[in-house]
């Protein structure tokens, strides 16, 4: 039987959720033995492949580019996990929402004594109005809250999914913890 194909992605997050996945320490190698890691910041594959079984997505959706990637990942993935509070609720990236994108950019680039002060726009993805959680855009199959979710939580969730035990998942999770 083919091994399940696993992918992990960062959108607008702090990488803490990915670090928590690495905090599985040696269990990472056990996990790696049971899946094919086909796409991740940790590996060198540059294009999101077809027919992925499980994708863990960290971070909120902050640009049109993020949204585009999320949608194409959804199309190519059976089971999509919102990994961590940013993906689940918007969390920290969404703190800019109350200010408005324009105010934030003006503050960071124009209102501090920088040389050649201007807002960078050339050949760059522009920030959307708001940073929003994944389920605003696509169907999410599992939500793993936590900032970040603990390594044990991520490990149990992934093992259960690999073993097809998703119905009786009892995870120790909580927002912000």
């Amino acid at each position: 039987m083919n091994k399940p194909r696993l992918a992990t992605l960062w959108l607008d997050g702090c990488s803490g959720c990915h670090m928590s996945l690495l905090d599985t320490d040696e269990r990472l190698l056990d996990l790696a033995a049971r899946v094919d890691l086909v796409y991740s910041p940790l590996v060198d594959c540059k294009l999101y492949p077809e027919a992925v079984d499980i994708a863990c997505i960290e971070g909120a959706v902050s640009t049109a580019e993020d949204e585009c990637r999320l949608r194409s990942v959804r199309e190519r993935t059976k089971c999509l996990i919102a990994l961590g509070d940013c993906a689940v609720t918007g969390n920290v990236p969404a703190m800019r929402n109350t200010w408005g994108t324009d105010t934030v950019l003006r503050s960071v680039y124009l209102e501090r004594e920088a040389l050649a002060a201007r807002i960078p726009t050339e050949d760059l993805p522009l920030l959307s109005d708001k940073a929003l959680p994944l389920h605003t855009f696509v169907k999410v199959d599992f939500f793993l809250p936590g900032c970040p979710p603990s390594a044990d939580t991520i490990f149990s969730a992934l093992t259960a999914l690999i073993e097809g035990r998703s119905a009786d998942l009892r995870l120790n999770t909580g927002f912000g913890t």
Binding site: G16, D25, L42, D44, C45, L47, W99, S107, L115, L127
Partner: protein, 473 residues
Amino acid sequence: MEQQITIEPVTRIEGHAKISLFLNDSGQVADARFQVTQIRGFEKFVEGRPFFEMPSLTARTCGICPVSHELASAKACDQLLAVTIPETAKNLRRLLNWGQLIQSHALSFFYLSAPDLLLGMDHPPETRHFLGIAAQDPQFARDGIRLRQFGQQVIERLAGRRIHPSWVVPGGVNTPLSEETRTDLLNDIPEVKNLALSHLQRFKQSLEQYQEYIEHFACFPSLYLALTNDANTLEHYDGRLRIIDQQGTLLKDSSSPTEYASWIGEAIEPWSYLKFPYYVPHGYPDGMYRVGPLARLNIAARCGTELADRELDAFRALQAGPIQSSFHYHYARLIEILYAVEMIENLLSDPAITDQRVRATAGVNNTEAVGMMEAPRGTLIHHYKVSNDGLIQWANLIIATGHNNLAMHRGILQAAQRYLGHGELHEGLLNRIEAVIRAFDPCLACSTHAVGHMPLDVQLIGPDGTRLKHIRR
């Protein structure tokens, strides 16, 4: 024929970026841009929040070095309170910081860069990653995991959790260290010290085979910036900001933290969200400087621990004056891991470390403060202004990776000229350009206070501005 080179995403770095390479009329690479493509706006959205939230809030800029942000932030907050924190609290913060230094350096070396070094730049990309190493040299992978784990365990045992702990507070830390934790950590020291030493030896023995990279991976003179203490030994938590020139001569030694603003300027380019800090007296872009492990080892007179000092002597023997190749960031990182293990042992061996007084309390007694410390990737600066009620009115964060922005540009240009100017383009050549970036270990999560999935887009642009090449892996 329209062609464009794209490496997308840049993998095995920590952030969100793309690269453009500009050709001149004769087809040589004339200019390079390293574009950081995301921004979160921490400086703005923290406005109005109470200052005591700042350590935990700014930790969320980065999951790799949250402790650095917590400490820079807490140091600024200590000054808002106008308190001197208890000596034990200071030492506990130091321990936490060295734990983080070890895990972050281990991540950079073992997980992100070792695939290039051990498997080779031209190894097939499908298996050129940490799990590929695990398949080929399981012991190497396990050692890397163990070193990173030890660093994370230092944090977990002191602060309750590995990522974004809320133990560091304005005025000190939340809870003292128990005798039991002290013993547990000390018990692990001999094992990790051996690991640190043996991988440093192994790296040194392999240096000869990397000569080509040493000469072309951002190898040029520059200024260097880091904190040092009064004894002029390696310092990550406290001390004065110091900048040296390419010969190693001292240019500036700050007497107060707020002084940074008069000699570190920030420039903005329209094509990157990451600003370009520069040394003001030398102007932009000539005031390019480097920070991080290489800068720290170039600036400090000694490490201050036995084994690391021995290693520092060997490191210094590589070249007269400051070490110039950014490839040696790897080497410097391994020396710092060893140093951090020795320092953790030293501090834990002092019974005063379990003292119960670990926090000073006070109200707001200052309305402006600057907190600085050495994050794994270099000097981190948090600058706050607060209202009399302690609500943040203004904040500025200058981040390690930002400091290195100009030098990373120069480094990419140098490597591109070496590897892409002529002949056939192939994946391994592009990987060499990525590898230059990995040597700096940029943390783009921190630097734009945002992180993405780390795409690196490389495009070749002709003299008339058209895109010439496009390669995807």
